[in-house]
């Protein structure tokens, strides 16, 4: 399955305003939980995991974050996309002592790693694609985000 097939229109948040990482996670969790994508414990586990194994990625000129947690808290697999009005701090995946300001979030709800390889590779290609990230950050509606990601389809 490709990345696009995991994108859910109701899990796309454009120009979201949050004050910090906790608020970001809570906002995205509520959307995912209400629609039956995740179990109730997901939020707590997501926060715990992010604290121990952060998911901020500095790509040089910009930063993204790919928060996710263990597969057992996922009911229906998904990728939630959020662009932020003002960035929030994430610790770096490879070095917890460093932080980066992130305004592009891809929250991954995955439950089968091997069959999802293609989609994961597409995510990595996407986050490395500066022009695509710029387009996503400029998008004003969830539909626009979907359209940009649709073009990403290989």
């Amino acid at each position: 399955m490709s990345l696009y097939e995991f994108i859910r229109e109701d899990l796309i948040k454009v120009n979201l305003t949050v004050d910090n990482q906790d608020q970001l996670f809570e906002t995205l969790f509520i959307e995912a939980y209400q629609r039956g994508y995740v179990k109730k414990d997901y939020l707590q586990k997501l926060k715990e995991r992010e604290a121990v194994f952060p998911t901020g990625l500095s790509m040089g000129e910009y930063s993204v974050a790919i928060p996710h947690t263990d597969p057992e808290f996922i009911i229906n697999p998904f990728i939630a996309v959020a662009t932020l009005e003002k960035p929030v701090s994430f610790h770096l995946m490879e070095d917890k002592s460093k932080q980066t300001e992130v305004n592009m979030i891809l929250m991954l709800g995955l439950n089968e790693p091997h069959s999802q390889l293609k989609m994961l590779q597409e995510i990595m290609t996407l986050i490395q694609d500066k022009s695509k990230i710029e387009q996503l950050l400029k998008a004003q509606t969830p539909i626009e985000v979907q359209e940009i990601l649709k073009k990403n389809r290989s």
């Binding site: 990625l57 490879e94 991954l108 390889l117 994961l120 590779q121």
Partner: protein, 91 residues
């Protein structure tokens, strides 16, 4: 045969991509090795019969075997240097 542990925090997202990348890298370079995907928390118990740890996440402890951080495969920055580092460890 050499054994490589590919680890990330949840053992599900970044390690899946890195696992595939490392498998192909070793194949291309004629290095016969078993590549195992796991959570970083499992590495301590599995290191005894392994030769190298490739982790996309921070290492929570010191290991007996060499470990390399593979975030480069996620960001795409300096991937070739990381390829070489892994090959050198397994030669």
């Amino acid at each position: 045969m050499k054994k490589v542990l590919v680890a990330c925090g949840a053992g599900i997202a970044t390690s899946t991509v890195v696992c595939n990348r490392v498998e192909n890298l070793l194949k291309e370079n004629g290095i016969e090795a078993e590549v195992i995907q796991c959570k970083i928390a499992e590495v301590a118990n599995r290191q005894d019969d392994a030769d190298l740890i490739v982790s996309t996440t921070i290492l929570p402890t010191q290991y007996k075997i060499p470990a390399v951080i593979a975030t480069a495969y996620i960001t795409g920055i300096n991937m070739e240097a990381l390829d070489q580092k892994i090959i050198d460890h397994l030669k």
